[in-house]
Amino acid sequence: MTLALIPLLPLLGALIPSLFRSRNLNALSAGAIAGISMLLLLLQAPAVFNGEMPLASWSWIPAIGLNFAFRVSGFGFMFAFLILGIGLLIVLYARFYISADDPMGRFYSYLLLFMGSMLGIVLSENIMLLMMFWELTSISSFLLIGFWSYRTDAREGARQALVITGGGGLAMIAGFLLLGHIVGSFELTTILAAKEIIHAHHLYPITLILILLGAFTKSAQFPFQFWLPHAMAAPTPVSAYLHSATMVKAGVFLLALLFPVLSGSSLWFYIVTPVGLITFMFAAYMAMFKDDLKGLLAYSTVSHLGLITLLLGLGSPLAAFTAVFHILNHATFKAGLFMLAGIIDHETGTRDMKRLSGLWKYMPITGTLTMIGSASMAGVPLFNGFLSKEMFLAETLEPNLFGAFSWIVPLGATLAAIFAVAYSIRMVHDVFFKEPFTNLPKKPHEPPHGMRLPAEILMTLCVLVGLFPMTLAAPMVNMAAGSILGAATPDYHIAIWHGLNMALAMSVIALAGGAVFYLQRLRLFDSHRWCMRYCDGKATFEALIRGLVQGGRTLTGLMENGSLQRYIALLVGAVFVLGASPFFGSSVPFIGPLAMSSVDPVTLIMGLVLIVCTVATVVNHRNRILSIIMLGSVGLIVSLSFIRFSAPDLALTQISVEVVTIILLMMALHLLPRTTPVESSSVRRGRDIGLSVLAGGGAAALMLAVLSRPYDTIAGYFLENSKPGGGGTNVVNVILVDFRGFDTLGEITVLVIAGLVIYAMLHNFELTAPGIDALGRPWVQDRFPMILAQITRPLMPLALLFAAYIFLRGHNEPGGGFIAGLIVASVLILQYISSGIVWTRPRLTVDNHIIMAWGLVIAVLTGVGSWVIGYPFLTTSFTYLTWPLVGKFEVASAIAFDLGVFLAVVGSVMLILVKLGSMNSKDAEIVSASVQKAKEKKEGAH
């Protein structure tokens, strides 16, 4: 459990920092959560350093192979350590960086969310689980990058990052599914042991490409590199975190994780190596020309990611080892450099290197730290960046698969290294030296110590690792690389001095060449301007998105012209074609072998009445009131037929729904035109009539075909299990509240939502009703006929009693909460009709919203109740009690659920009807007056 808590703690605790007002508490709580996670991780350290791999696994959705499983491999441990370690430093740094105007609590919440998702990626054992965390990082990074949401560039940058990494994530899902399909398991341990199976499978190429797409987009590899520099619109702590140790490293993490099973083929080599090399060179080149400090660092990050990708592409164990080492080194110096860039920005008001200069006098400590970081970034000896870069250069010289062109990798690597030296020099020299600055927004000074402390720690590490690699870094790197490579782990000695060799020569060339490049930079800038016109990925991206949106609109416009008739016609037509097609050319007779049952005259005549009334409804549909009356008779006959075929529950429901529907329609009709205008052409009406006859006839024919064949339905199961399984003899009700209780819960939820939405939509919406009736006569002046009022009042208790009866017997006899709810609602509405709002409202003091909400709460609690006592959600339990006088009777938890249904129905139906009924402007005044009156009455009583 402690293992799973490492990623879950930041995720679950993400909201906590938002709870505090104080900025210190914001930071402290976030730090505490990350700190506890760190402690939990360190608890695993002894086992991991012993070469074990702690595992924790819970079954989640076994049917699709999804387990809630975590592992701490050596590599995962290193990554988690980086994420949490740098995360803690970021928490401290951000406390000073985020200004008082920004919502700091929210910042830390996003940060923790991101941290948790990142930890989830590196610690997942199940790749489906990994995928979920992967998506979570896309979303949380979107929130972080767009933190200053009032800025256009922040919004655009965030959107771009989301689209690119999210899109890549989609490809990766497909890749993972294929991988799982090939191996037969989504567990990493199984997958990592199945190299031969994966390579031999014919789906290997497409799987590889899909997974690489996911990794490359996340790690900003060419040609997806452009989103990363634009993500620099984020606050600097975010950039420092996302672009040093986490977000972008997720891509290379995945490459390294799957390295043992996916690498080793020529396809891997020919995709990964060139992509890495191009990214490495191109981004290093771009970084030289960035005037924005963070822009420079962003491209440098892309370039270093390219370096790591290139190493993984080379495929040798030592290259993978170097990649792991460089991940560690890069995270250290790049996080620090981003923080320093943020400090410079914070204390001078600009990040523009054309304006910054001569800061050394004002910020010597920051300057020193920046120099250390830059030296490490450039690969100067005695700093940690040098070690891994030297190893990298040596690796590029190894014989590789490019054959006669094998010189291209070392050449490109040296060139990129030269660029790297040049931009590193620029970052130090342009900012801290050169002539004194002239126009800075603020007078520069050293930052508060707390803000500088994280960078100090990181830079100290850079130097220490650079000086004593074997003591400080080697154990961690060996363990991490060992967990990837297994037996193939090279026995490598990290050292500063490897003797005079080719790699050292390349390093020297890079350092010297970089200095020359920097001195000649003004000439380079000219040539670069030409290039920039063609290399801006953002413009291409925006154009692409615009084109997509435009294309989408055109396509939508072609398919959706806004005509509901057309949509329905297409839908019904398609259904008819699909339903009818199997019968054409089939030799099986349409009508089955069962004989027709005889028809009694009553049923026959009622059937005819039904048909006549249905046709009359359609024919009269333009005269709305008439068609509603016809529809009423249709409903009645339908309920008769339910009785004829022994379905009393359906008949009860049908009748009560019928009544409520007519009330609803009458209310709406008052505010609507009385007749429907003729809108469609006669050709169109002909088409629609034809279609509906075909569809209706088709449905009837299908029924005939089904009913004339012997078949087994699921009814038998329900009939048998209703009493023993659900404790009720009314199968319909038992299905509703037990077998399909979850569906019912969903349905009443929808009902409640619909009620709320209708209420919200009609709120403050008033219509003026016509003052005369259809024949032009004024309305009758008698608003509440006395006979009606006097009869309906005593009727109410009788009807309520009847509803209670229907409700209580529901589990064993026809009835139930739904029908009872409709009865109560319509009887209550009857009071509104016969006695008016002013009379009824003060007498019905319970708010319909509250009734409705209680209904839902009770239904959910019933379900949770069975959970608590160890059964699946909504399992009915029942027992028999003996009460004096009443005798033995059954108590089932289903009745509580049914009570929930009942209340939800009463509440929502009343809510909708009362709102709809009081919608016209005259009523609205009456309602507000009656509410006022009720309030006064209440106050008077106190």
Binding site: P601, I629, L640, I663, D923
Partner: protein, 89 residues
């Protein structure tokens, strides 16, 4: 004896429904049609009870009861609409 009575009752009830149908279509005024629908409800109630006797079961009794309790509400709503337009005021 009961069987004979049942048959006669069914015949008359069905006839009555047909007559209601005639009134429903013929009108001529809306109140006529509303009354026709209301009477159809009452006849349906009778048919429910008859069917219950015919199948020898009490199961359909509640269906008849629900018509008795609720059936007239739609008539009230429609009539109120004809009288005042606004049914909840």
């Amino acid at each position: 004896m009961l069987n004979v009575a049942l048959v006669i009752a069914f015949v008359f009830m069905t006839l009555a429904q047909l007559l209601n149908l005639y009134r429903l279509f013929k009108g001529p005024s809306l109140p006529d049609r509303i009354l026709a629908l209301d009477t159809m409800y009452i006849n349906a109630l009778a048919l429910f009870v008859l069917l219950g006797i015919y199948f020898d079961t009490a199961t359909y009794f509640e269906a008849a009861l629900i018509i008795a309790v609720m059936g007239f509400i739609s008539t009230v709503a429609t009539s109120k609409y004809l009288m005042r337009g606004d049914i909840v005021e």
